[in-house]
Structure formats: structure tokens, C-alpha cells
Point group: D2
Chain length 376, copies 4
């Protein structure tokens, strides 16, 4: 056993792969954070988890997460399983004294999320850290955006426009899956894409959402499942207007039906002194209009002084989507080393879910705004 | 007197200049429509209207519009004065048997607009034409967009995103003007910019708006006028979601506070088979995703076969904003020659205003949707 | 007869139409220059010139340019006929005391151009003005570029990249025309497109070309004419490197075979303190990297303080290609009123042709550079 | 010892880091190629190489490359040291029966490169593989470009435009380094950036360069070193026109003085049936004009069917610059497993250097073209 922190990742599908990639690479690009060991990859199917562990660099595998969270060789538990399992594993792992990173969304219900927040607060008193994984906070260009806003370079922020458009459900003949069933998925585009949108509003402004109005739409109401036609019970697209506690208005639009858009998270922020624009499909770029300049300047956020970039590559050598997870675990390790609170906290994850719930509630009330200021 | 149609333009400010430019140039770029004479420019200040007439190519000037509409040398009356004067002049001119083009908005009140629609319907029975000037319908790229949608190339249109962003009120120290007083301007960004947005939704889809939800915001509530601080009584920005009779959802966002945006009307249309994007600051371009293509193709709408382009310039020789007015009067002249109804009609202008009114009404009711299906 | 300057345009094809448009509109957008009368349009075919005159706003027509240049009602002769006719008409018109604007290229041969320069110098001593029409000098964004360079904002300019790409000859089955015969057209892409490229290098830097290396290529060596296959005797594409008297290096690339490019004049200028980029297909935009900014700022050159824009339209209301000719005649009228020398002068037109000739000469010598410093 | 291939990387600076990253990650994104062990990292400074090995995932370190190439645990030697050391190490490693990957340029002299080619040919007869690392061949968008050209989708390629612009030497006060001394660096922008440009021309067309004309320029002729002012003996920028054996013309422009450009490798290819454009700063995008489409379509090369992408991330989740190295070693491992010749071979590396040498030779002869068809 060495002095590196032992990491367990639970889950080896898409997010398990992305998180594994982060743990495998964090040391190369973030030399100042504590070293880690890729201790154990956890999954239910022994053969599949073994194959994944080999590919993704894990020393060993396990099928029982309960044993893993009790394992002395494990210091950090990183939860990449479906949302309905988050609460149980996270609360148990925190109770066992393990630092916990949980992929977004924090949980599938507000009640679970609240229990997780309580567990995280309790664990924090013992120096145990908990973080939720909104990886786009770790895009260098967006971290730079946040820094500019926090430093007052945009003045008072008045308007934000956030859209997240994909097109994988455009075809009405695309088959039914669990993602289109409310009982399994919770919601559709709103939860999947809208959660990132809402988190960015809170992150960029450092402010809470005070009220929300929403509209949900299911354009293709029925799809063919294995047992024939079945009703789609989640939204294909969602719209919302949010008012923040600082008085800004944010418009949100998310869709899985936007033909030609693959992974288009687009953000615009307009303030009294400046503005900025971002697109996830060109994630190394931030377009800023500052200091009275007459237009937007394209900044390639690949300079050593940009957030997270110092130990990556020279200027102009662009980063990929996966780098955001690497930066995320670096931040998490940094807070463990420093004994500080990670961000976004479980409370941040809960706050995002409350906003999503308010949007749904508003949509059910024909768009009447729902207040979030005094949640009960 | 020759066989050309005599034109009178009433008003010589910004819109009078743009319309004059159109009449001066229509013959050069639209040789098949009837010839016109720039007969008379009308304005209240004799010296100023004379100077404008010289600059803009008018044969003579007048200060009394009532005399002009009775003038036998005048066949067409083009109204470019403020909105509260539209109804009186248009109704009188139509009554005098003159074809009427009126700059948008059709009128400042629904009641006036309804009276104008009635007058236009009456005049139509006598072969007299009436049109409202939503010039962006005559951007070749947008006319091409409409043709693609009408031909079914986008399949069922599900989502539209329309934003119109400007930044001329960003500075809280910018002084109070009549444009920020409700009694004079009617509304703020909503009427000025939102009217174009709503008209495009109706135009592109060839469908009516069935219901509307809205939100209005005044970010700078007080500005300094000549007599000291004064309340701003119109919106600085507005948001709406519209549902069309065909089931599409359109999101609208307009603002005068979008730092760095000068005249940014941006339109996106997503259908079941294709999609398209447009930006007014690059008005010669249409970006289309059609026929299963994997991304958006930039089309420079400057080929002879594109709408309106045939007699302009060779491919790649871009048109300016002013060309939209030239194309607009060409269309108007074409309907006069053909004896057909011009589009957008006064009824279209009224429909837009009803949508704007519904947005305001919804905003006053905290965003509850307002139905437009059975207007009374 | 009034105190306005009488204008005669000779030629009514593409350039005659563009120049007519300029004369028809100059008063509307440039109120401070002398007023003009569209006196006479000149062409060989009486019926066609009459039809064009009606469309383009001319008071009368003529078929004999010799009579027109003697006409007391004519103060300005604007020559839009093919290049081999330029010298004779221009020299005669200057001799008759008329101000002369001649469309580029100045002439088809160096000898003719030299004679024209001599005639212009002689005329200048009598207050008669001569200008050659490189209209892209009047794109506001390019005039702004020149001003930035002249003011030292880019520091020492080291590199320029100028390409002008079109695609109308891509198809090898496109038929033979006079434009592909050396005896008629002089050269191919080099003269047609390269002349604009070379003029921009000289204009932007305010410096002469000291030496040139060139390469010409004809990709489709034979095309079908009315009498069967025929050799193409001009270039389809050309490349050059120019060295200016200030030590900068400019690369030039022009082509009629660049599939997908319609009218793509692209310019990049790199200096020790800043840089800029421009594309004719987006002619209202200049992208500048100045003052140590980390990237390029997109500037929409539509503000009142930008060159030529003051009396056009409000910010964000973009200009078209045709506006460059309007601005060009405004400049010409301004020099007539002020009694100053217009720019580009005939000497500038000659200088461009000498550079083009040097490129051809170099190409014939396998690319060895040809000096222009001591032309004989 | 397991059945995985043991890898040694020699060098741990910029390229050693990039190559280490590739070996650490290849298994995760290319599951079908042979497994590897990160056996040993080699460097001269024991402490520094140990620190790098820990960061980059190597099992052990060594300071003597001669021992490493004899080590039975090592199957692959990956050379990331300066160019003047390539020949000796590569030839020795191949002689020892190790597969060799060498970072570009292949060597600093033609003679060394020729010896390496001979050694590679000899090794190939024993099933030992040798490859040179032009990583941009492994950008998915560029591999897609090559496939389109090879499939005839562009028809006959006529023109290529390749520029590679950076700005790190713009400031004349930037100090002297070994990179600006010819004896150490061989050449300046030409070798560093031009080698990628030339390799892309050969790669995309699958054709050789037949002749080359060149121009080199040093804009800042003297810089301050540790011992005072010193002459810069390499080029700051270079220009070339290449003619391929297939008759295409490629223009090349490379610079370290292009203010505002960070790592801007831009490629355009124009053929008789189609064309395409690429920019390294947006390396996930390929813009194609095919099948008679009227403009360029932006394709995000992140679909599973795009080259290299299958096992990376879902559509729209962009790859970074570092992925090119991962794909590169996957290709290399694939050829080792399949017993086929890797590409680009050492002969390809030599061919690029001959083109660079021809450009230099041409530049020394005032740009006269140098033939490469019968190199002696």
C-alpha cells in the first residue's frame, strides 16, 4: 500500500468509462494534486467488468459495492450507476468515511437528494468530502467565463440564453427505450440536458434561481417498443424562463429533436458592461465582448494561464470533451488535500433538481411561475 | 403623364429613406413589374422634405397628405410615418382608391388595425391593394427558407427559435426618449423587434399562432430625461413561447440590452426531416440541414434561381439590408399588375399585433398562456 | 441646365449596371458631394441602350461616344466598356476636358496604360480628374483596415495573404468563351481576380510592389466552342509572391476552379503589433487582433464613424456589394469638388498592371522573381 | 511477463508526454489492437525521468537507451528525442529487432533519413515495423478527408491550399533560442510547420510531390541571446508551390509571425467534383462541398462510423489534439498485429524531407523550381 488515494468507480458504462479516463489521466495533467491508485472497478457482470477494467486501467474488479465501500484500500468512491441507485450508495459510502463523487443528476427524487445532502453535511464534519459531477463546470472556457463574471467584467448580468440541442430522437420511427418512460428516466430532455443548463446558470452567476416558468412538449407521443406501440411519457423538448436572486432572467431551451444538432450546449451571457458566448461543440473557444470593444473576440482558452490548462498542452493545442472529467477529479482531489468543501456540492445538486422540479410543476400549471425562494 | 404608376411616400425619416431607396431602385432590379414615377414626397417641414426629396429622387414635395391622396398623379400611397397615424391615412387613401403600403406595425392599437383590415377588404373589392411592410419576408435567404418549408423539405416543423437582439440601451446612462414611454411607443423591444419575430414565425410556417405565453422585463427602470429622472414604462426585453395551429412551438427572445449584438435577428427552424438557420447580420446566408445530410450547409442565397435574386448581381455578390425594401415594393407592384392580393396583408399585420397583445396580456398574468384561436 | 454635374456612362452591361446604380444612389448616401445628373447612357445598340437607360435612370441615350465627350451637358465620362477600348475613350475624354472614371483594368496593355497616365497628368494640370475603379477600396471594412494600418495599429506589416477564389469554370464541360482566349481577354484569373488582389496589397500598405514571382496554371486546356474543341489560352488559376518596398511579403492565389467558392476574396494582414482578416462574402465584417488582444474581434463595420457609413443605415444594417460603387463615385465627386487628385489614379492602375505583367513574366521564367523597382 | 507488448518511450519532454499519453490510453479507445505495457521511460536525468514516469504511467525508468533496446521486456521503441539523435537510435533498435516509432521529422539530414529507410526496409524483411509520427494523419476529420478523395468524391484534385500559422515569434524582443540557429534546428517554420503541410499534401492525395518552388524569409534577423545580439539563421516564415505527380498544385504558407494565430493549420482541397476545408483549431470539423451541393457542409467528425471514432465517445462529444497520438499508436499496433507495413513509413518521412530540402534549394535559387522526380 502506498500513500496514494485508492479510487473505486462503480459502473463501467458511458459515465464509468469517462470517469475511468479521468482517474487514469489526472496525474499527467494535474501534477500538484494527490496521487491516486485505480484500485477497483465495480459492476454486476463479472466478465464485463473485468474486460472494462483491463481497458480502462483498473487494478482489480468487484461485483459487490457494499464490500468495496468497506475496503481499506479504497479512499474515494465514484458513483457512475443510474440515478435511482445514487442515494443508497452515496449515503453508505459517506457513512463508511469514503469521499464520494457522484455523477449528475444527484438523485432521481428530491427526497433522495435531500437525504444525500444531509449525509454529506454530516460527513463533512468528519473531513469526508462529497461532490456531484457537473463536468461542464470544468471546461476551461466556461471556468474562464465564470471568472470574468465574478470579477465584474460583465457588470450586472441581465440576460442569459442557454440552449442544449441534440437530434437523436428526431426520427419518429426510433424505437421506445427506458429513457422515454417517466417511471425509469424521471424526465426527458429536461433532466438530461436541462440539468446542465440550470447548473451553468447557477455556476456562472454564483446565484440561485428564485423562480421558474416552464413548458414541456412531447412531439412524438408514441413509439414502438418490443411489445408494440407505447406512450412516450417524458418530454422531447423543454423551455423555461428562470429569474435569479440577482434579478437576471435566463431562458432555457433543450431538445432531443433539433435536426442537425449533435451536442449543442450554447450559452450567452449579457451584462451591463460586457457579454460572452460559448458553444460546447467548439469547447475550446470563448467569445467575449468586453471593455467597450465593438464586437466579440474569439479567445482560444488554451493558454497556460487559463483555468485548468497549465499542465495540458501548449497554446492552440485543443482539449477534448473528456478533459472536463479529468479536470473535475483534479478539483475533487484538490479539495481532499486542502480540507475544503468541493463544488458543486450535493447541495448544489439538490438546488438544480429543485429548479427542474419547479419547471415541471410550472409546466403542469400552464406556465405559471413557481417560486424557489422558500422551498418546503 | 405616362403609363407608370405614380408613388407618394409619406414620411422622410429612417423608414421614408429606406422606402424611397426602394422606389428609386425597383426598376433596375425588377424589370418585369410595372414602371413607377417617384411622384411626391410628403412631410410636415417644407424645407426638410424638400432637401430629402432632392437626395432621394422625388419629383416634388407636399406637406398635406390629404391633398396627396386625392391627387390623380398618385396611384400608390406608401405610409412611413409613426404608427398612431397609420390608420387615418391608410383608410383615407384606400377610400380614395389608392393602393397602400404601410410600414409595420400596422397600427398602434388593435381597434385601429381592425378598422384598417375592414377598409382593405372593402378596397380589395374595387381592385385596390393594401400591404403591410414586413421587409424581412423579402430577404432572399428567408424567402428560400419559406419555400423549403412549404415544399415539405423540413417535414413537420416542431421547433422554432427566434431571437432579435440589439444593444443600444445597455448603458443605464442612456437618456430617456419617447421610445421608452408606453403612451408614445406602445411597447419596447416587444413591439419593435418582436413584431418581426412573430411575423417570421407566421410567414415561415404559413400557420397562425394559437396561443402565447410571455414575460416582459425592464432592466433599467428609470432614465434621465430632459426634466430629470423618469420611469421607463416599456420593456427592455421580452420572452415568449408561441404554439402554432400546426402544433409547433416557437420560442421568442428580444432585447435592447444584449451587449455586443447590433441587429441580430437569428432564426432556427427544426423539422422532422430537416432544419435551417439564419442570421440577419449575415443576411445572404442560409444554413440548411436537409436530405439526411450530417450537418448544416452554408448556402449563399445569391444565385439567379434564388428568390428575388434573378436581376440583381452575379453569384457571390452580396445584397445589403436595403435590398429587402426594393424586393418588397417589387412584390407589391407585381400584385397590382396581376390583380392579386398582396402578402403580408393588413390582416397579417393585425394577426401579428394580436399575438403581441397576447404576449403582453400573458405577461401581466404571470405567464399564463393566452389563446388566440377565437379572437373576438 | 442646373449646377449639377452631368454624367455619361459608356457601356450598359454588368459594369454599366453597377456604375449606373452608383450614380443613381450617390446623392442619397453621400449628401455632401456635388449633385449629379444622370445625363446620358451610351451604347452601340440603340434599342438595348434605351431599355437599359429606362431601367437604370438615365435621361437619354446615345450611340456615339465621340459626340458625348464633346457634349457640354456632360462633365464626367464613366467608361464601362471592355478594356481594349479604355485608352482611346479616356484619352479623348480627358482631352475634351471631361473628368474620367474608368473601370479596372486600366487598359489591356502597358503601353496603353502609360499613354493614359500621361493624358491624366496633362489633364490634371487643367483641373480635370481621372480615376480608375477598384471598387473594393470602398468596402467600409477594407477602408477601416487601411486606416488601422496607416495609423500604425498593426505595427510593421510583415505578411499578407490574399486569395480570390471562384468556381464558375470548375466543370470541364463548360463551353469556350472569349474570356478564355488570350488575344481577347489578356489573361484569365490573373487579370480578372489578381488585379483586385494586387490593388489591395498596394492600397492597404500604401506601398509599392518591388518584385514578383508567379505561377500560372490552366487545368482544363481545351474547351468546346461553337466550332468544336479549342485551346484555352489563359490561366484558370494563378499564384504569386510579392515583395513590397517596405519589406512585406504577400502571397496571392486566384482561381476560377475553387469548387464551392463563389466570390471569395479573402485578405489577411499580419503585423508586428496586430493583424486583421476580411472576406468579401461577409463584406461588412472586419476581424481584428489589436492591442495585445488574445484573438480576433469581429467588428461589424456599420457604425456611423466607420468609413463611408455615416449616411447609410443604422448600426447592424448591412451594406451590399453594390454600395462599393456608390462610395467610389462619392469619392470621385469629392475630389472634383475639392480640386484634389483622386485615388486610385491612372498611375495606380498602371502600377497594378505592371505587377500582373511581372507575375506573367516570372511564370514564363519558371518563377524567377521579376523586379519592379526600375521599370523601363 | 504477460502477452502484452512492452513499450519504451525515449524522451519525456513535450513529445514524450504526448506519446506517453497515447500509450496510456490506447487500450481504452482501441480495444481491438494488441494490449501494451508501459514498460520503461528513458531519459538522461534520473530524477526528472522518474518524476515524469510517475506522472505518465510508466512502470520503470532508464537512462541508457542502448540497454533498453536490448531489453527482452521491450518490444516497441518510441523515439521522442531531438531529431539529430533519431537515426542512431532507430537504426540500432531496428537492428535489435524492436518495432520503432519515431517522431517527425524523421531525421535532420537526408543522409540520415536514407540510412533509416534502408534499416527499415531490412527490418521489414524480418517482420519488424517502422513508422514515422505525422500525427495529423490521425485526426478523424482529415482521415475522412483522405477517404473522400481516395473514393473519388472530389474528382480530380486540382488545387490545395495549406497554411500553418503560429505567432510565438511575433515580438522582436523575444529572446534567441536554439530553435533559431540553423546548426541546431535545421530550419525554422519550414521544417517545424512545413513538414506537416507537405505530409498532408502527400497523404490526402496519395501522390508524390514532383517539383517545388520556395521562398524563405526571416523578418527579425537578430535577437538577443545570453551573450548579446545574435543572428537568426533560420526562416520565420516560408512559402512554396508544389506540383504533385498527379498534376495538382499546392500552395504552402507557414509562419511563426502570424499575430493572433495560435496553431492554425488550415487545409483546403479543390477538385473537379467537390472540395473540402479543415482547420486544426476546430479539429473535429470537416467542411465539405460534395455532390453538387451549393456550399460547404460542416460535418462534425464524431460519429461512430468516422475514422478512429468508433470506440471514443458518442456523437458531438469532441476529441482533443492529444487523441491524434492515441490513434497513431493504435494504427501502429494494428500493423504489428496484422504483419503489414505501417504508414507513414520511414520512406514517407524521407520523401517529406526531400520536399523540404527542395523548397530550401529553390529559395536559394530565387524560387526556380526544383524537381523531385529523379532524386539523386
Amino acid at each position: 500500500m502506498d500513500d496514494r488515494l485508492g479510487v473505486a468507480v462503480i459502473g463501467y458504462a458511458f459515465m464509468g468509462k469517462a470517469h475511468s479516463n479521468a482517474w487514469r489521466n489526472v496525474g499527467a495533467f494535474h501534477p500538484r494534486v494527490p496521487g491516486i491508485r485505480q484500485e477497483v472497478l465495480v459492476g454486476r457482470d463479472p466478465a464485463q467488468v473485468a474486460a472494462a477494467a483491463t481497458r480502462y486501467g483498473w487494478s482489480r474488479t468487484a461485483t459487490d459495492w457494499r464490500a468495496v465501500i468497506e475496503d481499506d484500500a479504497v479512499d474515494i468512491v465514484d458513483i457512475c450507476v443510474p440515478g435511482h441507485l445514487h442515494a443508497e450508495i452515496a449515503i453508505a459510502a459517506l457513512g463508511a468515511g469514503k469521499h464520494v463523487l457522484v455523477e449528475k443528476p444527484l438523485a432521481n427524487t428530491i427526497a433522495e437528494a435531500e437525504a444525500m445532502v444531509a449525509a454529506a453535511e454530516d460527513a463533512s464534519r468528519h473531513g469526508v468530502r462529497a461532490m456531484v459531477g457537473f463536468n461542464y463546470r470544468r471546461v476551461p472556457a466556461l471556468a474562464m467565463a465564470r471568472d470574468l463574471i465574478a470579477a465584474g467584467r460583465l457588470g450586472t448580468v441581465r440576460q442569459l440564453r442557454v440552449s442544449y440541442l441534440q437530434d437523436w430522437l428526431v426520427d419518429a420511427a426510433a424505437p421506445m427505450t427506458w429513457r422515454m418512460r417517466k417511471e425509469a428516466a424521471g424526465s426527458g430532455a429536461l433532466g438530461d440536458l436541462g440539468s446542465h443548463a440550470v447548473d451553468q446558470v447557477r455556476y456562472l452567476l454564483g446565484a440561485d434561481v428564485a423562480s421558474a416558468s416552464g413548458l414541456l412538449e412531447t412531439f412524438v407521443g408514441e413509439r414502438t417498443g418490443t411489445d408494440g406501440p407505447e406512450a412516450v411519457t417524458v418530454d422531447d423538448a423543454a423551455w423555461a424562463t428562470l429569474r435569479t436572486t440577482t434579478g437576471a432572467v435566463a431562458s432555457i431551451e433543450v431538445s432531443r429533436m433539433a435536426t442537425g444538432q449533435k451536442n449543442a450546449l450554447a450559452i450567452e451571457v449579457y451584462g451591463s458592461l460586457g457579454s460572452l458566448r460559448f458553444s460546447l461543440e467548439s469547447l475550446n473557444e470563448l467569445h467575449v465582448c468586453l471593455d467597450g470593444n465593438p464586437g466579440f473576440t474569439r479567445v482560444l482558452a488554451t493558454e497556460a494561464h487559463h483555468p485548468y490548462v497549465e499542465a495540458w498542452w501548449p497554446p492552440g493545442h485543443v482539449l477534448g470533451w473528456d478533459s472536463t472529467f479529468t479536470n473535475q477529479v483534479a478539483d475533487f482531489l484538490g479539495t481532499i488535500a486542502a480540507g475544503t468543501e468541493p463544488s458543486p456540492s450535493f447541495a448544489d445538486g439538490l438546488a438544480v433538481q429543485r429548479v427542474l422540479a419547479a419547471i415541471e410543476q410550472s409546466a403542469a400549471r400552464s406556465g405559471s411561475p413557481v417560486s424557489l425562494e422558500d422551498p418546503s
